[in-house]
Assembly symmetry: none
Homo-oligomer: 186 residues x 2
DNA sequence: TATCTATTTAGATGCCCATCGAAGGAGATG
DNA sequence: CATCTCCTTCGATGGGCATCTAAATAGATA
């Protein structure tokens, strides 16, 4: 109903909107590649390559296999195909529009409590707080699992008190937790 | 054959990697929209909307029709479909890879003469030897200066006869030397 | 002509992020 | 154990870009 589904789309496009990452995908499509190999082929330092790999992993586009210390990364062709198929369909655009012209009240709440992406304060009223929490929950991709550290980072982008918000998300059953690992409900 | 092709891909993804532009596409998919209309629906100022429209026009995704002073923009559904179809195909990724590791032939040479990072033998043919030398040269950072001892170490990681290879690199003008100090050419 | 309105261009600002060096694991080897 | 190698994480920096205000353009109205 609420459609910040759009943030997921933006995230996917941003992940692909980088020459280094596209080159890495091309190289990993041929065969599995070590970080060092990508680093020398692309003339980038190791940390930079690791950063890009993390980003691509977040999209579910690559898989990793460890062989000794070496980490070998490979492109998941099926995932790429699925992404290409689903990325820009009319359905998606419709969802985007729903997001824009959706519930006026919810949009007003978000406008009131947010300064850009930054949550000015946590709403005291339960209903308003739930709007904010749903907006936060939409930043977690269904099906993915997040360690607590990453949950804190994602929430922390919008408000310093990530601990309170994280608990509230669990309480509202928008996120679920087991053994220190979090995922989006439903 | 070397591909600024990749810059086109990056540009397309970047144009789509923005929530405002995606929302605008969604709205323009329903019906044609004026700048003012988009502006109020998205809660953005006029100039910002114009900026985004220019970006989307650069992708060929929208068309404009003037009616008096008002400019009415509309999504070109066919263009969108074509973009979605062509954006992330294996062909494109192959082109990207060609951009990185050059001609397929060069990649084949490297595969033939290397066992992992170890050069099995120095190619006798001049063209093949040059491919290997360029690969070796890529392990020297442009702008840095290397004493001869370090040059030997770096080359020695890949082949025991570092002296021959070092001289070949100078001969091919891929490395330069002055007073016993080496650096990467260009 | 002057004026009003819709849009575009120019210039400035602030945030996001690609990249790097340094430091911190973690497996292998001896 | 110590050490080496490969990778990841952390913190900092610089460049690009979304957004804004102010000014310029252009059509409509009178």
């Amino acid at each position: 109903m609420t459609g910040p589904e759009i943030e997921l789309m933006v995230n996917a496009f941003k992940a692909l909107a980088d020459a280094s990452r596209l080159r890495m995908l091309g190289l990993m499509a041929e065969r599995e590649r070590s970080v060092e190999e990508l680093s020398s082929l692309l003339d980038l330092k190791g940390p930079t390559v690791s950063h890009h790999l993390a980003r691509l992993k977040g999209l579910g586009l690559i898989s990793m296999r460890a062989e000794g210390n070496t980490h070998l990364y490979r492109l998941d062709g099926d995932a790429l195909h699925a992404l290409n198929r689903d990325l820009l369909t009319p359905d998606k655009l419709a969802a985007v529009t729903a997001d824009v012209s959706g519930e006026a009240w919810e949009r007003k709440v978000l406008r009131d409590f947010f300064d850009g992406e930054r949550l000015k304060e946590i709403p005291a009223s339960r209903k308003k707080r739930e709007v904010v929490l749903r907006w936060l929950a939409s930043h977690f991709q269904p099906g993915l699992r997040y360690p607590e550290k990453e949950v804190n980072v994602i929430i922390g982008r919008h408000h310093p008190d990530f601990a309170t918000l994280r608990r509230e998300l669990i309480g509202a059953e928008l996120l679920r937790r087991e053994a220190g690992v979090y995922w989006r409900a439903e």
